[in-house]
Amino acid sequence: MTATPVLALHEVSHHYPGGVVALEQVSLALHPGEFVAVVGPSGCGKSTLLSLLAGLTAPVAGRVSSVVRSPGELGMVFQDPTLMPWASVAENIALPLRLMRRPAGEVTARVVEAVRQVGLAGFEASLPAELSGGMRMRVAIARALVTRPRLLLMDEPFAALDELTRERMNEQLLALWRELGITCLFVTHSLYEAVFLATRVLVMAPRPGRVIAEVAVPAGYPRGDAWRSDAAFAALRGELAAQLRHSAEPASP
C-alpha cells in the first residue's frame, strides 16, 4: 500500500452524552484509490465513524489525520438524500460550490458535469418531490461530486432503494469511482453490496463499536453480474456473515 493514507483514525474513541460508547479504540487507514466498505449491525457506530472522518465531530480520544485540507476535497452522501425540497435539482447540486463562494461560471459548468456523471440530464429544473427515490439519491451523489473531491464518504446511501435500482446504482457508482480515481468509504449493512463494491471490507461489532475484522476482496474491476454469481463472491459473503454472527453472540441483549 502507498505510504500516506488519505484519511486515518488512530485509536479513536467516541462516546455520546448519556454514556453510549459509540466507538472504542478504532484505527483504520484509507489509501488513495481504495474502495473500502464498512459493514456492521445498526448502532455499531458506522455513522459516528463517518462523522469523525469528515471532521463533523471531534473524537473524545484519539486522532484523526487527513490529507484533506479545504472544503470540497471531501464529499459526503447520507442515508437520506437530504435535499433542499424548495430548490431545483441544479440548485441542490450547486449548493457546495455556493457555500464555497465559487464564481457563477464555474458553478454552472461543474453542475452540468455532475448532472451528466449521475445521468440526470433533463431533470435540472425538477424539484426533489418530483423525482423517484433513486433519482434523489443521484442528486445527492452529484452534489457530493460537484466539488471534484478526492474522497467520498457514503452512509448506507442505497439502503432505501429497491433491489434492482440498488444493483444498477452500485454498478454506476463503481464506474464513477474508476473514472474519477477517487477514494471511497462506503457504509452498508448489506454484505452483498459490500462484496460487490469494495476492494476491502471492514467488519464492525457493536457495544462498544469497534472494527473486528478486515477482509480483502481480490476480484478485479469492472465488476458486474459475472462477479455477483462467482463462487468467490458467495464464499466472501459467507465469511463476512460468519464474522458478524460471531461478533454478535457475546454482546447480544
Partner: protein
Amino acid sequence: MTWLRWLAPLGLGVLVLLAWEVAVRLTGIPVFVLPAPSRILMAGLESAPLLLSSAGYTLRLTLTAFLAAVAGGVLIAVLFTGSRLIEAALYPYAVVLQVTPVVAIAPLVLIWVGVDNASTAVVLLAWIVAFFPVLSNMTLGLRAVDPGLRALFRLYGGSRWQELWRLRLPAALPYLLSAMKVSAGLSLVGVVVAEFVAGSGTSPGLAWRIIEAGNRLQTPRMFAALLLLAAIGIGLFAVLAWLERRLLARWHDSAR
C-alpha cells in the same frame, strides 16, 4: 368535485338568507332588533360612500399593523435563532405582551401616543395582538431544519449568514405563511377592538361606524358595516391562502 366546494356553502348561504327574509316578514319583528337582508342591503347602498371610506380606513390600518407584525415577528425570530441569550431574555416579555388583553392596554397606549394620534395607537395595539403568532411560528420554523442539511453546510464551511439565507429562511417559509393567515385575522380584530376603545368620534373606521349606528339604533347599517368587516377578513385570508399555494405548491406537502 371542486364545484361542490363553492356551490355547497353558496347554496346554504342563499337558503339561510331566504329563510331569514321570510321569517322577519312573517313575524313582524322590529327592524332595530333584526332587519331583513333586503333592509340591510338598502342601508348599505344608502350609506355606501361613508361605509366604503370607513372600510378603506380600517383596511389601511389593518394592513399596516399586519405588515409590521410580520416584519417584527420575523426579525425577532431571526434574532432568537442567532442567540439563545436574546431569546431567553426577550421571550417572556413577548408572552406577557401576548397574554395581556389589548383592551386593558389600550387606554395606556392612548395616553402615551396621544389621543390626537388615534390611528397610530390603533396600529400599535393591533400590532401587539398580531405579531405573536408570527414570532412563535417563525422561531419554530427557523429551527425545524434537517440536521443532515446543517451537517452539509458545516462540511462545506457555510457561514451562519449562508445558513440563514439558504437554509433556515426557506425552511421556515411554510411556518411563516401559516402564521400570516392567523396574524392577518388578528390584525383586523386588533384594529376593531382598538378602535372601539380609542374611537370616540376621532376614528373614522368601520368599528366606529358600528358604535355610532348602534347608538342611533340604525341596526341595518350596523349589519352592513359588519358585513364589510367580514369581507375584509375573508379577503385577507383568501389572498394569503392563494399566496401560500403559489409559493409552496410544488415542494411542500401542506399545499399539495
